[in-house]
């Protein structure tokens, strides 16, 4: 097989190869650690049965949708009461419910969010808990 314009073809193939394998090249020699959201806040330590508003698996998958429902419910319908899995009553609030238990935003929310590169814009207005 004779290749015409071999030089240009070679450059083209090198470019193609480096783009097509870029995810492998980026990760070469890097060990990735799975995020480990910490639950050791004073509020959670006080709890007898350590549980979230909904089951853990649900929270991991759908907490953003839940927050969206809470926001709409409070801001549009004026309803602030949320009944959790076990019949617990929560006040639907980002700052004074979620962040009361999860007061370690940097070690909890941000831990996951940094890994999957989401930057919730909530904190443009809502006040994040004070941490040092």
């Amino acid at each position: 097989m004779k290749i015409y314009d071999g030089g240009k073809i070679f450059i083209g193939i090198i470019i193609f190869l480096s783009v097509a394998t870029s995810p492998f090249l980026f990760n070469m020699g890097k060990a990735t650690a799975k995020p480990d959201p910490k639950l050791d806040t004073p509020e959670i330590q006080k709890m007898k049965k350590k549980q979230c508003v909904e089951p853990k698996e649900f929270m991991r998958r759908e907490h953003m949708k839940l927050l969206n429902e809470w926001r709409d419910s409070v801001v549009r319908e004026g309803n602030m009461i949320y009944i959790g899995v076990g019949g617990e009553v929560y006040s639907m609030s980002l700052q004074s419910t979620c962040m009361k238990c999860h007061s370690n935003k940097k070690k909890f929310c941000d831990e996951c969010h940094k890994y999957v590169a989401v930057k919730p814009y909530c904190w443009d207005c809502h006040i994040a808990p004070k941490e040092n």
Binding site: M1, Y4, F16, A20, P23, N27, V116, V118
Partner: protein
């Protein structure tokens, strides 16, 4: 016929992935082995196609152009449409790849009152451009799941794409544009009789496949949620060559990644390989310098010629005897 065949193939692929994961528990097959096979097939297949194209000679310049070629100084030269050097070719190729310049000239032909009339037809160009650009942006956005740490430029891309701030997770505009434009490209094949007539199964299949990928992606992001952290862990396993299958990755993810694997494995053997082919189209990548440079056909072989001179040398005496005129005495 072709459409039905393609649609049912795409649906069967969805079922295979669904059954394979839900019923047969073949998570490792669908989450690691098939993606690897697809990546290897894609890379080797595309290189094979490039080398195959590169082995056919292009002996002459093919100036299928839409502008005046470089000529006398007082005739205006159209530098991009009919380039005479490398720079012009690069600009023409960039415009072709980034903006689909030749598709922009698409015309429609109609019979009106017994006369053939031509009209401008930009919808194909618009939908094609919208489709390709949104596909590219979506692919780039996916790098947030492919690399760790994620570069800051990806955040910028996401904040543009999600700037409407509708719902949570934030609505990405490109997802909507992709689904809308692929639907249009499919609809057009059904709706325009001439286009339907020339459409084959291998025109429909990529559209159905991409539609399937788009729909599963949108479902996964907004409706049937998966655990994104664990999903990224699975994907990072593939790209760090340490595949593993974490808990809590939903079935819909396996359908999505299986359709993507099929797309990549199918890529080199289908019309989709125009991604590489566009750079090798002679009407786009050759400068029109036929008047400045001599191009010699590489398959020319020495022809055994017998010129009139030779003929006369051979038969001069006989010709003279017969009274025929000769050029040299």
């Amino acid at each position: 016929m072709g459409a039905l065949l393609s649609l049912s193939t795409a649906l069967i692929l969805v079922l295979i992935a669904f059954a394979g994961v839900k019923e047969a528990n073949l998570h490792f097959l669908f989450g690691a082995i098939i993606p690897y096979i697809a990546i290897i097939t894609f890379i080797i297949g595309v290189i094979y196609r490039i080398l195959k194209w590169a082995s056919s000679p292009v002996p002459f310049r093919i100036p299928t152009t839409c502008g005046q070629q470089k000529s006398l100084p007082w005739i205006k030269h159209s530098k991009i449409e009919n380039p005479s050097g490398t720079l012009g070719v690069i600009v023409r190729m960039a415009l072709e790849v980034l903006l689909f310049r030749s598709l922009f000239r698409n015309l429609k032909t109609e019979l009106r009152e017994g006369k053939v009339v031509y009209g401008s037809e930009k919808w194909l160009w618009l939908a094609g451009l919208a489709f390709h650009w949104s596909f590219l942006i979506i692919l780039l956005r996916h790098f947030r799941l492919f690399v760790d740490p994620v570069p800051a430029s990806l955040h910028l891309l996401e904040s543009f794409d999600g700037f409407l701030q509708i719902g949570m997770p934030r609505l990405f505009i490109t997802g909507i544009i992709l689904l809308a434009s692929v639907s249009y490209l499919l609809f057009r094949r059904f709706y325009i009789p001439q286009v339907r007539y020339i459409s084959l199964a291998n025109d429909y299949f990529p559209l159905f496949l991409i539609l399937g990928i788009g729909i599963t992606g949108v479902l996964m992001r907004y409706f049937i949620k998966v655990d994104v952290v664990n999903t990224k862990h699975l994907i990072m396993g593939i790209f760090t060559l340490k595949p593993e299958i974490p808990e809590g990755v939903g079935g819909i993810f396996y359908i999505h990644i299986f359709l993507v694997s099929v797309l990549f494995a199918y890529f080199p053997f289908s019309k989709l390989v125009h991604m590489a082919g566009v750079f090798m189209s002679p009407t786009r990548n050759l400068s029109n310098n036929s008047r400045m440079k001599r191009h010699i056909n590489p398959w020319n072989y020495p022809v055994k010629a017998h010129t009139y001179e030779d003929y006369e040398n051979e038969f001069r005496e006989k010709m003279k005897k017969a009274g025929l005129p000769v050029e040299k005495e």
